[in-house]
């Protein structure tokens, strides 16, 4: 189950980078940030060490993609306004 949110995050991130000025891009960045919560909320009786490690990796990965997405939107907006 943990594959699906990560794969979806990749797809959305690529879309944000390609079209940062699209009105949907800001909404997509907010949606990206929820992916880490999805992984953390997968029901499990007892977490193994590999699952804990995976959750941390997904947290860091999603946080980095969110930061890059917001930066791409800011940069594109500044360039569009400056032009």
């Amino acid at each position: 189950m943990s594959l699906y949110p990560v794969a979806a995050v990749m797809g959305l991130f690529i879309n944000i980078i390609k079209r940062p000025l699209d009105p949907q891009a800001k909404l997509d960045v907010r949606l990206l940030a929820t992916a880490a919560d999805i992984t953390r909320n997968i029901p499990t009786q007892r977490l193994t060490s590999s699952e804990i490690e995976h959750m941390k990796q997904v947290d860091d990965f999603v946080a980095e993609l969110t930061r890059l997405g917001e930066a791409a939107i800011s940069k594109a907006t500044l360039e569009a306004n400056g032009a």
């Binding site: 189950m1 943990s2 594959l3 699906y4 949110p5 794969a7 979806a8 995050v9 990749m10 797809g11 959305l12 690529i14 879309n15 390609k18 949907q24 997509d28 949606l31 990206l32 929820t34 992916a35 919560d37 999805i38 909320n41 997968i42 029901p43 499990t44 009786q45 590999s50 699952e51 995976h54």
Partner: protein, 265 residues
């Protein structure tokens, strides 16, 4: 194989899968044999043949899933196996709605029938294999952009045709808006699980199919009319892939706490 998969040890799972596939070939599971679904009408040999064929389908589904996830070639290629689906597998959608957490079937009359119960839909698994072969195999990487786009359109049509065959209660939605309740929270676990798995699998396959269009690029300069024409041509696919990704996150955000325990991987 299934245990290793659910523990997240995909490398071990694929090793066991290869052993299982070879064993199935020896037992003849890759050939289709018509068998009766009525328990009273089935002899021992017929029940054995039916069981081996069902094991074949379980291995086939895992094989196509692993292939699409990991990018490695499938072990069960359609050229060498009979992919005639089980005669009555669609009936699982009738009993799933009533199957309770203890897997007891109501009405009790259905206990007289051998209805196959799979972790997913065999036809969807077939489409996963076809998508991987036509879009991500070694041959697919050599295709012209026109051939690739044609295959993407065909796969999309086949995926939609499959979606229409799924009964309304389980049918994956094309797109999932925010705050829409897709599966009733009080639905029994087997019904919830099938609905959730179909939704996420469908959107994942939709993303895989349409994401391949991004490989198409014009050799012309970026600001030329030709490049702009290419971008317009592939934009619908790019939009569909993005919408499928959005739908996955929105859907899982609402449904994740309702899935079966210990399905982390």
């Amino acid at each position: 194989m299934m245990y290793q998969t659910f523990c997240g040890r995909l490398q071990s799972a694929t090793t066991f899968l290869s052993i299982a596939c070879r064993t199935l070939f020896v037992l003849g599971g890759h050939h289709y044999k018509r068998t009766s679904p009525v328990i009273a009408e089935s002899g021992i040999k017929e029940r054995e043949d039916r069981l081996v064929r069902l094991l074949f389908w379980i291995c086939y589904m895992f094989d196509q899933d692993c292939s699409l996830r990991c990018g490695s070639p499938p072990l069960l290629s359609e050229n060498y196996v009979d992919l005639t689906p089980p005669d009555d597998y669609m009936e699982c959608y009738e009993y799933l709605a009533d199957l309770d957490e203890n897997l007891s079937i109501r009405p009790e009359s259905m206990n007289d029938l051998l209805i196959p119960h799979f972790p997913s839909d065999p036809q969807l698994s077939y489409l996963k294999g076809k998508a991987f072969k036509q879009l991500y195999s070694t041959d697919a990487m050599k295709k012209s952009d026109a051939a690739l786009l044609r295959d993407i359109r065909e796969l999309d049509s086949e995926l939609e045709a499959w979606r229409q065959t799924v009964p309304q209660d389980f049918r994956p939605a094309l797109s999932i808006p925010e705050n829409k309740l897709i599966i009733p929270a009080d639905a029994p676990l087997p019904r919830r699980m099938r609905g959730i798995c179909l939704h996420v699998d469908y959107h994942y396959l939709m993303t895989c199919i349409h994401r391949a269009s991004e490989r198409c690029a014009s050799a012309a300069p970026d600001d030329s009319e030709e490049a702009e024409s290419w971008r317009r041509g592939i934009q619908p696919s790019v939009d569909l892939a993005a919408e499928a990704s959005r739908s996955t996150l929105i859907y899982l955000r609402a449904a994740i706490t309702g899935i079966q325990c210990d399905l982390f991987w």
